[in-house]
Chain length 399, copies 2
């Protein structure tokens, strides 16, 4: 068991704690001060030196951010691409896979039933255009991806598997390592979307057996918006040609081109280095606290929220899974989810609304037309969770 965190220090580190009860960390967290200060410090350097000159001066610190991301996800720095979001990271993996060997009607693509729309949509596009079959893996009795059913579905036609580690809208934690074990010795590309897990739960890309792990800065990592990263396995680096290249990921030679050997092959030259340095500071902050300690604290807060919500008459908690994440989802009888979210926010508690477009298959299977999502982080207090409970209880049915 990890040493407990000192909540007062965590709150003192987090300027937003003075202002708001923020239970929207699965949307975009309140950053610790060091994150915003790091971004601003680099913006000031750019303002005074020039943008390229500031980048050169910060070159070592940019590589430090890459190394921190590698430590967090259990990879080497040369396996990390610094990107703009989990979506851009996941898409770079997909466009590289689809460029290296175009998909056709002989290919199958398997995804979890709670998969996020931004992953499913490009796969639907490739499926509809090129005939690859897109299939949803059934859930097990806990509502997670069914590893046994998945294993039974596998054959050599399965080109791509994509699984959300922690789906955005149902509190569960998928057994991504179980899926990875089933894929060992196959030629299938395995994409793990860890955008809701990195920063709140331990994630080890190697142990999972993922070819790609996509991550965002702004959620449980508490980094800036417009940041993310991609872990790529050695097989992915060896076998895939990144597409589209730019003059950072590739080099135009007379009569052809070369491609960077490291995961920088999935990056663009142009990016917000200020924001990426901020992401590096956020990762270092998380590593200093210890991800195990973070996970325990978030679980305590989320459990308190679930217990309290279940005690409110007419409230349903929709979280599934044998193991649960810091994402708490609920509805209340007689109140539209949008109205419930608005009511809670009007009471000064930041929560968010998840609607079927976020994960159509999951919402349709569970006949939900929306859920309110509360997602605590280490800096939240039990009193703030109680404020959520009071706010939920106070929203009038029909309101």
């Amino acid at each position: 068991m990890a040493a407990p965190l000192d909540v007062e220090t965590l709150r003192a580190d987090t300027p937003g704690c003075q202002v708001v009860t923020h239970l929207n960390n699965a949307g975009s967290a309140l950053p610790p001060a060091i994150v915003t200060e790091t971004v601003i410090e680099h913006l000031r350097r750019e303002e005074l030196m020039g943008g390229y000159e500031a980048q050169e001066a910060a070159a070592d610190r940019i590589e430090d951010a890459r190394a921190s991301a590698a430590t967090l996800v259990g990879g080497r720095p040369d396996q990390i691409a610094l990107l703009e979001s989990a979506t851009s990271a996941w898409d770079r993996a997909l466009t590289s896979i689809a460029f290296t060997r175009p998909l056709d009607s002989g290919d199958r693509i398997l995804v979890s039933s709670a998969e996020y729309a931004s992953n499913v949509l490009p796969l639907m596009q490739l499926s509809m255009r090129f005939g690859a079959r897109l299939e949803f893996v059934p859930d097990d009795e806990h509502g997670c991806i069914d590893v046994e059913a998945f294993t039974d579905m596998l054959d050599t036609d399965v080109a791509i598997v994509s699984v959300n580690h922690c789906p955005s809208q149902n509190g569960l934690v998928n057994d991504v390592a179980g899926i990875g074990a089933a894929l060992r010795e196959t030629d299938t590309w395995y994409l793990v979307d860890a955008c809701q897990s990195l920063g709140q739960l331990p994630v080890d890309a190697g142990a999972i057996g993922a070819d790609f792990v996509s991550a965002t800065g702004r959620k449980f990592l508490r980094g800036p918006r417009g940041t993310g990263f991609l872990y790529a396995s050695d097989e992915a680096l060896d076998e895939l040609e990144p597409f589209p290249l730019d003059l950072h990921s590739g080099t135009w030679q007379s009569g052809g081109y070369d491609v960077q050997r490291t995961a920088a092959r999935f990056e663009y030259w142009e990016k917000s280095y200020a924001a990426l340095l901020g992401m590096g500071a956020a990762i270092d902050y998380a590593l200093d606290l210890g991800v195990a300690a973070i996970a325990e604290r978030i679980a305590d807060l989320a459990d308190h929220a679930r217990d309290g919500l279940r005690d409110i008459p007419g409230v349903q908690v929709h979280d599934r899974g044998l193991r649960q994440s810091g994402i708490v989802t609920f509805t209340r009888d007689g109140v539209a989810p949008a109205g419930l979210a608005a009511g809670v926010r009007a009471a000064g508690v930041n929560v968010s609304l998840s609607t079927p477009e976020y994960s159509r298959r999951d919402f349709d299977l569970h006949q939900l037309d929306g859920v309110v999502r509360a997602s605590p982080h280490v800096y939240n207090t039990m009193e703030e969770i109680d404020r959520l409970l009071v706010a939920v209880a106070s929203v009038r049915p029909g309101g």
Copy 2:
């Protein structure tokens, strides 16, 4: 003729002018204070309110930035996608074209001979993988894209044409409107890379007849790093399916998906809204000054630089074109370009080095192994240009 700009005010607006002689505006310009302050103001809101909540609160201002970009490029707001760089903008256009109708050996792709590597590389990839023929359009007697030769090359197999308005490494301004006129009534997709022209020269997408115009924030627009935008014609919006979609550009419906009608179909949901608000401030600043006045001032400074450089024994200016941009390129006999750039920078003048990988065809055609690039902006002074000249003259051959 535009009213002359007040240089003292421009310099007072630009904190970096106190610190550095910055002639690297074609790399990344010194921003006016309003740009950095706008970014920081939004970062502070995110820090105190939460990232999504700050975005909601700034929704109108984000749309204002889109409208400003539309004004600058001569389009409507619904024709503008807010993106991370000119490269990401140009790539979104290309991946959408290639997804909507995959290229094959029956297709031809025409590009200018001074085209930027980040545009040529993905086209080379598509060409090598799918057999489309990538062809360079010859230069005319001024060294610009030869509109007549281009017109002669056209047939119904030409699927894509890409032209850099102002190439990165040779000071010329291509006749993008002439190319556009030749393409009228064709089914060819016409991409104009305006990343070095927007902010320093008037650009009117409609008058050019472009299907796409890609733009970056950080160069002559003086916006933050990690920003850019894409203009899309009505034909592009009508006929192309953006790829890859996310839950912002597309909507997952039961059994299929819808695509946003506006150019937001080329955007990602996740981005640095702080940086984009900064880009909006930069565009407004340029529009307030007047692009015509900016163009005149930059031309005066660049001409002074070219004249002075030509007067230094052993210095060659490599800028071509009937019309020239604010990009001034040169070499000096007996000094490697990298050494010359380093020497000038050591004298406190920010310049940059362009190497053959940036635009292989152009460097090979002109048998250059590198050029030093000086790129003034309105806030520079003739005295700063003179400082450049002294620095260039002072670099010892062999040094």
